[in-house]
Amino acid sequence: MDMKVAKKLGLKERYSLMTRDLAWDTTFHKMEDVFPQTTYEGIKIHDWDKWEDPFRLTMDAYWKYQSEKERKLYAILDGFNQNNGHLSVTDARYINVLKLFLGSTPPLELMAARGFSMMGRQMNGAGPRVACQMQAVDEYRHFQTQIHSISNYNKYYNGMDEFAHQQSRMWYLSDGKSFFDDAITAGPFEFMVAIGFAFEYVLTNILFVPFISGAAYNGDMAAMTVGFSAQSDEARHMTLGLECIKFMLEQDPDNLPIVQRWIDKWTWRGTRKLASVGMMMDYMLPKRIMSFKEAWEMYVEDNGGSLFKDLARYGITIPKCFSQTIEEKEHVSHQSWIGFYMKPEATPFHTWIPTPDEMDWLSEKYPNTFDQYYRPVLEYLDQQEKAGNRFNNKTAPMNCQVCVSTMKFNEPGDPMEMCFRESIYNGEKFHTCSDHCKEIFDNEPEKYVQTFISSHQVLQGNCEPDGTDVNVPDFKPGQNMLDYWKLDKRALGDFNGSEDQKNFAQWREQATKN
């Protein structure tokens, strides 16, 4: 081929030469031995070359753009830290958002990094393999920049210092851990639907777009920079998830029922996981740009709706849980916040009762539910707190065997009735929080009987501080949970009266006077 032809190569041809043309079918070993994981889930792929590459970044362009992003990001972080940027956030309650974020998000990004590395090894096709590898290395970026951005806050505020220890131990972090453990232990195609599609395409917008915009609105330039910068990679990740769905559906009609079951399952699992994001948006941001409900409508109902309408041409239907998520969008953030408020001795972040004008904002944003169901509870809790009788639920929670959320969601159609479901497997009873979690359990009971539920494990002596002898005669399990969690007492309970509150006020005072 002559010079002109080589020069004229378009983006697609050039990218193809730079990726799939590098690949070959192995002959010393069978391809199914080199890529042993892509058949057992029942997904049929006839031609991996039909994969359409979404973004076409070669490594040189990747390094060029990513290094520019990183240079900017760390320059902003350094500046923010050098200028005591933590004192410029709206009010110290905001910092509790970061505590919840640090505990729940970087550990999941890490699992995404490891999971996509596995996909980047296991996918037969060169196209998806490269895209998965690129996502894997991006996910390293995400958990690392998140930790780096919060590192400076950890120096001044309580409750962030033991996130690495707590990631596998804290009861309320178990929902996210089970989500990613579930995905990574599934086969590669289910992982792609779970993380690439349901999580990245349908759900992360909620976490990173309105919530991070909210962080910016509250003066946290560090979180804003990290969040938006991560989200710029997310756009690539979303297209990968969507492409993978289309690819499976186009390859064989037999793939449809499998993919549909996974979409149903993971849309629901993701919805449960996001309940705590709702409470961050509605209750924990001192200045709010939009309610969780509004964000849900914009990014899940409208955007997800567009997506499912589009996929209808392959026979995909809207996930079964969709109507329930729409009903729940007016409830979950309130139920979550009240649930956490009631456990003041078991979280490394503070809780509080919203101020009267914050309650009015909630009334306005949730006209169908807040005044009717949640304001009375919050006002009652407030009175009790002021009367010196702060509510404190000391019992171990009951958890869903699938999503591991504490049982706190209502019966569909009846906000006053708590929802419980149960299944029998091998003569043993297992509890779930909803019809959708029950269905997930019933589809794969042999998997979900394994779920590590700390309120069960603690009774078996499996949640004790390192070095505890559980075989001594008078051993009582679960007496040392704070040590097991390495939970700093200063980080517990009410924001009002906390060390964070006092320090922040005093440091701000110092900043405004001589």
């Binding site: 909210g214 710029s232 756009a235 297209t239």
Partner: protein, 89 residues
């Protein structure tokens, strides 16, 4: 009809990109939020390299969008000259 959308971090370059989008996509709706800007277009949103170059006053590689993007919605098709998001519905 579904909206395709794209959102950018607010900065000088993305301001030019947004101007280009508005010019090339009649019916574009711009939503301003803290530190970000989101543009919705019914069904199909296209970013043309030539228009961005005109606004920004230099040559522009559409892959530079990577630097400012926050999120997208729609099927993506990327060539040297156009970056397109669309829904089939």
């Amino acid at each position: 009809m579904s909206n395709a959308f794209i959102a950018f971090q607010k900065n000088d370059e993305s301001r030019c990109i947004v101007e280009a989008i508005i010019e090339d996509n009649p019916g574009a709706m711009v939503v301003d939020q803290p530190s970000m800007v989101k543009i919705d277009v019914p069904n199909r949103l296209v970013i043309k390299r030539e228009t961005v170059e005109e606004k920004i006053g230099r040559s522009f590689d559409l892959q530079e969008l990577q630097l400012h993007l926050i999120t997208i919605s729609g099927h993506l098709d990327e060539t040297d000259d156009e970056f397109t998001l669309s829904w089939n519905s």
